[in-house]
Symmetry: C2
Subunit: 311 residues, 2 copies
């Protein structure tokens, strides 16, 4: 059942007019990442490729399309983790970088640290020869419109809830059985400057262990951190639960204990996978054994051959 | 057996001439924090008081006395967590703040975020009216000497190992059964600017849950993150292990799986406590039922009445 790749484009409340964009993007990302796996590439290469495609897609709250903080700036967080070594790399509150997930991977591979933040992360990006992009190139009209709306006195709380959607992520197992995860986000709409959410926090914003599986979550970052959602799901799997059971248990616990909604994509070493969420929607897609799976609302699970171009 | 408070002054290799300083400081910190608990104060107040005392003590790698990063600057991380709500507060790579642990607590109490980083954390400190202190006031001659030594070509790796010592932390249960943890660090000697270690990462640098217990770790931050050490210990306790068994299991796992050394202080809801480490030393002290417990080397466990002034 290997290789397998599962991606998400964020849990939350996705406006109707953006639903198609959200679904199309995760399908494209899973196709891109899976082609690497099918050619014998590594799980790490595949998750970074999938998340890069989602960062470049303005429909998601990561890379280009990120939500703006209270000052109207884009500050992004990203994490990758390698299940073979348990090594990870992360960046938090990084600015003017096109693909934070690629910078996170460089932190893992080129430093003896696991996380770099803010200006230190930017300095490292420059030292690695990574191009600094103008902040404007990351900001969409949609992001700016929502930022303005939320700054207005008496802003609609539904808009604020929408602000929590759109973190992107991926989990994969390659043909050699190596497992990886990647997560990337622009954070929370109108967040304070310097706010760091769950994404760059190992065990919260992702975890990968070749012996157990991998998780990439999305949803209310503060709730995810309170229950260390990713590691919690893998603990349940270590206790014998399936990827799906473990996800449902942990999401139910997060809802009951701290009132948080979210979603996850999960794989285990055998190539079993799950895409589960307690939010209204989560755009997700999975690829395995020539089949593309995808959905947006609870209970939705469409399947089509990977080879056939998506409708 | 309530209340109880356990503190540590860092795991690692503590030079002989500093051993007495290290032990004296944790005993003083535990006395300070425990006096709050005995007067009916909260676990959160007690751990913040104990860690504040350790931050103010130049013998530890936190607050004043922090190690310097590669540029000769002090960048500090801190975390607090409240086991009643699972709420936490953290700061990462914050500069010119006397007591990062107090700023972390303000993040928890005064924002709807859990972590602020770098300049954003400094802005928040100013908004809260927290005094900005000159960087020089945080730097000891000893820290500067070690920084210079480690920058020298062919620097001694023993010195580098020493660079990992000295993170401080505390865990407590108050008379009402509320549980809290706090951890604070100057990071790793000669770290890159913007490096964030395990400390501000929930589940790695600490975790507290009224239903299970609390952990504050110290040691090699990157190894602690790889195994999400704090949450791992609490998972073992949820499975029925004692605080001591859970600590030993998790520290052995960290050593075997990722080659990392460290130490922890742990409490459970009944007031049982543990101070365990795989490093050569860890300065620790605990207070419960009128007794002060302390030690530095493996197997050391001294006891004296809390009322009697320490020798």
């Amino acid at each position: 059942m290997l290789p397998v790749l599962v991606v998400h484009g964020g849990a939350g409340h996705i406006p109707k007019e953006r639903a198609e964009l959200s679904c199309g993007g995760v399908m494209e990302a899973v196709r891109g990442g899976y082609s690497i796996l099918r050619a014998g590439g590594s799980a790490m290469d595949a998750v970074v490729e999938a998340v890069t495609l989602l960062e470049d897609n303005p429909a998601y709250n990561a890379g280009r399309g990120s939500v703006l903080n209270v000052k109207g700036e884009v500050e992004m967080d990203a994490l990758v983790m390698d299940g073979r070594t348990l090594g990870s790399g992360a960046v938090s509150a990084v600015r003017r970088v096109k693909n934070p997930v690629q910078l996170a991977r460089l932190v893992m591979e080129k430093t003896n640290h696991l996380c770099l933040t803010a200006e230190g992360a930017s300095q490292f990006a420059r030292a690695m020869g990574m191009e600094e992009v103008p902040e404007e190139s990351l900001i969409t009209d949609y992001a700016r419109m929502r930022w303005r709306k939320n700054l207005a006195p008496g802003a609609n709380p539904v808009e604020c809830q929408m602000g929590k959607m759109g973190t992107v992520g991926a989990v994969a197992v390659d043909v050699e059985g190596n497992i990886a995860c990647a997560t990337s986000t622009g954070g929370m709409l109108n967040q304070m400057a310097g706010r760091v959410g769950d994404t760059p926090c190992v065990g919260c914003g992702g975890y990968a262990d070749n012996k157990v599986g991998a998780v990439s979550p999305t949803g209310h970052g503060e709730a995810i951190m309170k229950v260390t959602l990713s590691r919690l799901i893998l603990f349940h799997m270590e206790q014998g639960k399936s990827a799906e059971e473990a996800s449902d248990l942990a999401l139910a616990y997060m809802r009951e204990r701290v009132g948080g909604l979210g979603g996850v994509v999960v794989v285990d070493p055998q190539g079993n996978w799950a895409a589960r969420f307690s939010s209204l929607q989560m755009a997700w897609a999975a690829a395995r054994q020539g089949q593309l799976h995808y959905g947006l609302y609870t209970g939705e699970h469409f399947t089509e051959p990977l080879e056939k171009p998506s409708q």
